[in-house]
């Protein structure tokens, strides 16, 4: 609890974040928040941008190899109730999608970064297919696009020390996987939903 509050305040101070909801409202229904990824603070920012009751039901997805190395990272991952996914050993019989769905049950929401890694610039990379398979198995989940602006300048990839500029986290209107929609079409549409928030 103390770590959470402390980390949240530090992250907010460093990022000067302002949170906006566009055509969308915070809600405790089951959702998947998917965002562009440019810095290590992204998880904390999106998570702390949610109201407390929503936050309690939301679990960020994080890379197991990164977040289990060292005491501090492990502690932070625990504080944020992160679901650690092994991105190196993805096998058929233990697919991460199944694991995610099993873990969230019928109550929890997810935060994930479908680009798979952090970007160097402010662009948004191609999405990996996880989001598609997730909503194919649970098509009723609301998919909320999230655009994180300016974090690539505050804590760029490869830097340890942040520069306290201002950033914003924008939540957009939900999208769903249409019946019979092809994978590539859906992923392009999801990526555009994030990009559209950039100019709003």
């Amino acid at each position: 609890m103390i770590t959470e509050t402390l980390l949240t305040w530090i992250a907010r101070f460093i990022s000067g974040v302002s949170v906006r909801w566009i055509d969308s409202q915070p809600d405790i229904c089951q959702r998947v928040y998917f965002a562009n990824h440019t810095s290590h603070l992204d998880v904390i920012l999106v998570w702390s941008a949610l109201p407390t009751d929503v936050r309690r039901l939301t679990r960020p997805i994080a890379a197991k190899d990164y977040w289990t190395s060292g005491f501090i990272r492990r502690h932070v991952a625990k504080v944020y109730n992160a679901m650690l996914i092994d991105r190196k050993e993805i096998k058929v019989h233990q697919s991460p999608i199944d694991l995610m769905l099993r873990e969230i049950g019928n109550t929890h929401s997810l935060i994930l970064f479908p680009e798979g890694g952090r970007r160097m610039d402010e662009g948004v990379g191609e999405f990996k297919s996880g989001l598609y398979y997730l909503s194919k198995k649970r098509p009723e989940l609301e998919l909320i696009p999230v655009y994180i602006n300016n974090m690539n300048r505050i804590l760029p990839r490869g830097e340890i020390l942040p520069v306290p500029l201002l950033s914003s986290v924008t939540f957009g209107p939900p999208i769903w996987l249409e019946a019979g929609e092809p994978k590539t079409d859906f992923l392009v549409r999801a990526r555009e939903a994030v990009l559209r928030l950039k100019d709003r």
Binding site: N149, R153, T170
Partner: protein, 313 residues
């Protein structure tokens, strides 16, 4: 003591009057003033109330005022750098700007170390930033990137720090330290009212726009009328300042008014170049500190140095 209360009373009276006018304007659509302009006007007045509170603290604790100005400066700097694009190679230099030069400047002001704080940013930071960006090994638009960081540091930190530095000028024993607090109060009041008067004059008499592409609402009539009436206001407040005569006080107020509008004009130019791109989504949640302090940033160092040259001992 009497002068302190008299000055505070006059300023509160003027601000109260301005607030009332603002409310009255919002209620009714007189003069065909459009609501957006009235809202801008009201937002400015709100910021001035805040400023007056910050400055009123100076009567009790100078270093607390320095700290508050330091925080303002830090916030303005992050808005400024957010507005201007910077590359990956600038990251380390920016870190130093935020976490070393900015706090150091205000610590030196609070310690009244004029020899250092007047040269630290123009000399040491000026050279350091260039070297640090060069070391990062990114030569793309080098001069442009360096200039942006230097300009941000100069305007938001160096220039603004001269406002609280007024608290440490020495006017001789017979005036005492309270004269400094009154001087800062006088300075802020004159800056704020010069902005207000220019706005009013521009609305009532404005015909010749100074630069359409930068700010369509600033006119030569506004500048002239605002500056002259600010001078008049300043002359009536001379009893609160260390300036001996009413005409000295008027001349200083005129100087402040001209510098204040130069500052507002410069910031408008920066915003009309960059503003549309970024400020929209990033700054809106923060009230725009930069918008409020632009005039103070430009007027403070000039006012400080002129006062120091002619009146301080």
């Amino acid at each position: 003591m009497v002068q302190d209360w008299a000055l505070v009373g006059v300023v509160l009276g003027l601000l109260g009057l301005a607030t009332l006018v603002g409310h009255w304007l919002r209620r009714q659509a007189v003069f065909g003033v459009d609501p957006q302009v009235v809202d801008t006007f009201n937002a400015r007045i709100q910021a001035w109330w805040f400023f007056c509170l910050v400055v009123a603290v100076a009567f009790f604790s100078p270093w607390l005022t320095v700290l508050l100005f330091g925080l303002l400066s830090f916030w303005a700097l992050r808005e400024f750098i957010t507005l201007t694009p910077s590359g990956m190679g600038d990251h380390r230099a920016l870190f130093w700007v935020f976490f070393f030069f900015t706090p150091m400047q205000f610590i030196l002001v609070a310690r009244n170390n004029y020899e250092l704080y007047s040269v630290m940013i123009p000399v040491y930071a000026f050279l350091f930033i260039q070297a640090r960006v060069a070391i990062s090994g990114e030569s793309y638009r080098f001069l442009e990137r360096v200039a942006k960081i230097q300009c941000a540091l100069m305007v938001c930190v160096y220039c603004l720090s001269y406002a609280p530095a007024l608290l440490y000028l020495n006017f001789g024993d017979d005036l005492g330290k309270r004269a400094n607090a009154r001087l800062l109060f006088f300075f802020i009041t004159i800056v704020l009212f010069s902005e207000l008067l220019q706005f009013v004059w521009g609305k009532l008499q404005g015909k010749h726009i100074i630069a359409e592409s930068i700010d369509g609402s600033r006119t030569w009539e506004g500048l002239l009328g605002g500056a002259v009436s600010t001078g008049l206001l300043g002359s009536t407040l001379y009893w609160a300042t260390p300036f001996q005569n009413w005409w000295v006080s008027a001349a200083m107020s005129l100087l402040i008014a001209v510098m204040a509008s130069a500052g507002a004009m410069t910031m408008a130019a920066i915003k009309s170049d960059r503003g549309e791109v970024r400020s929209g989504t990033l700054i809106e949640g923060h009230g725009g500190v930069l918008d409020r302090i632009d005039a103070v940033c430009f007027a403070a160092p000039v006012f400080f140095h002129v006062t120091r040259y002619f009146f301080a001992t």
